[in-house]
């Protein structure tokens, strides 16, 4: 979080985290394509030639002044592939909230769980308090045929009271709902901290 009182801006960093090919970049692409261009910047993607995220994707959205303070949300994705593990930790630095994008497909269940453990490990290494960090789950790819029930994903990812959204990022279902939920969770935390 960065508050610049001269510009009356509050900058907040939200990271989309999850296993490879779970739809993190697709979330940002949908947000970019379906928001007012005046309210968002360019979508910057650092991709390999195979179209896989190598470092991160970045998109800033600005929501206009709220009570005289202009919130700016910087949305990042992390690379899902395991050989970019070090990069994930770098992108998590200074984050104010996380969206965990899980892949609902049956064969991806173990990978979801491993990535969640990896998130918790990275938080611990960075000295981030996992209990207080705003976190929203998104169970993506709900439009595909071979998916597990949300209850199964909830149990596997130990999602108890943490909010979750069922989504199909390619179709846009649940994308804005997820974004609103994480923004609200982050804003609520800002309110109690400053």
């Amino acid at each position: 979080m960065l508050i610049n009182w001269k510009l009356r801006e509050i900058n907040l960093k939200i990271v989309y985290y999850g296993p490879a090919l779970s739809g993190k970049t697709t979330n940002l692409e949908f947000i970019h394509a379906h928001t007012n261009p005046k309210m968002r910047g360019d979508l910057v993607s650092l991709k390999t030639r195979e179209d896989r995220t190598i470092f991160f994707d970045f998109l800033q959205i600005e929501l206009g002044a709220i009570k005289g303070l202009k919130p700016k949300f910087q949305l990042y994705t992390v690379p899902g592939q395991t050989y970019y593990l070090a990069t994930r930790k770098v992108v998590l630095q200074g984050c104010d909230g996380v969206v965990f994008v899980a892949d609902s497909q049956r064969e991806r269940l173990a990978e979801n769980c491993a990535t969640r453990v990896n998130l918790l490990t990275n938080w611990r290494d960075l000295g981030i308090d996992a209990v207080r960090m705003p976190l929203i789950y998104q169970f993506n790819k709900c439009d595909l045929p071979n998916i597990v029930a949300p209850e199964t994903l909830r149990a596997a990812l130990q999602v108890d009271t943490t909010p979750y959204f069922i989504a199909s990022a390619t179709q846009g279902t649940g994308v804005f709902e997820t974004l609103k939920a994480i923004i609200n969770a982050v804003a609520a935390r800002v309110q109690t901290q400053i």
Binding site: M1, H34, T35, F58, I66, K67, L69, Q74, G94, I183
Partner: protein, 165 residues
């Protein structure tokens, strides 16, 4: 939650340091960012330049080379990075472990001059940095606060902001 607060007085001092750096070197612009990619301040000719994205990429760049330094057995990350282009060069310098100073300058500008004055500016900024980090750690230390019901108003207005077109 990593927190940084720049008061108006802080911003004025930072901008003055950046302006002096530009005045002495003739560089195009100077950017102060933190290692998480947040843009703290920018001075100079930035028309048409997306400094927010640049700050995010600078932080990613420095983080990637920090890993290179580690693999090479360096005890610290690289203190200076330099990118040479056809028209512009980019000098990146670390300020302690949390902040970065980037200077964009024309290829006609002397590299040595930029390096010298960027280092001096980084030293001055480094002395100020603990103030930005410590201000919010003490409740009530900041004289300015987030408006009451900021979160609630934001929540109310989010639906308008994020209307699916």
């Amino acid at each position: 939650m990593a927190r940084l607060v720049l008061s108006e007085a802080h911003s004025d001092r930072v901008e003055k340091i950046l302006r002096e750096l530009l005045g002495k070197t003739g560089a195009r612009c100077a950017i102060l960012a933190d290692i998480s990619g947040q843009l703290l301040a920018v001075e100079g000719r930035v028309k048409g330049l997306d400094t927010t994205v640049l700050a995010a990429l600078i932080a990613g760049n420095v983080a990637a080379t920090a890993e290179m330094a580690r693999l090479l057995g360096e005890r610290k990350h690289f203190q200076i990075l330099f990118h040479q282009g056809e028209e512009h060069n980019l000098h990146l310098g670390a300020i302690g472990t949390s902040f970065l100073l980037a200077v964009v300058f024309s290829v006609q500008t002397q590299i040595g001059l930029v390096r010298l004055f960027a280092m001096r500016a980084a030293e001055e900024l480094g002395k100020m940095a603990p103030e930005w980090e410590s201000l919010v750690m003490v409740p009530g230390a900041s004289t300015q606060t987030v408006p009451e019901d900021f979160a609630q108003t934001l929540a109310d207005e989010l639906d308008n902001f994020l209307k699916q077109e």
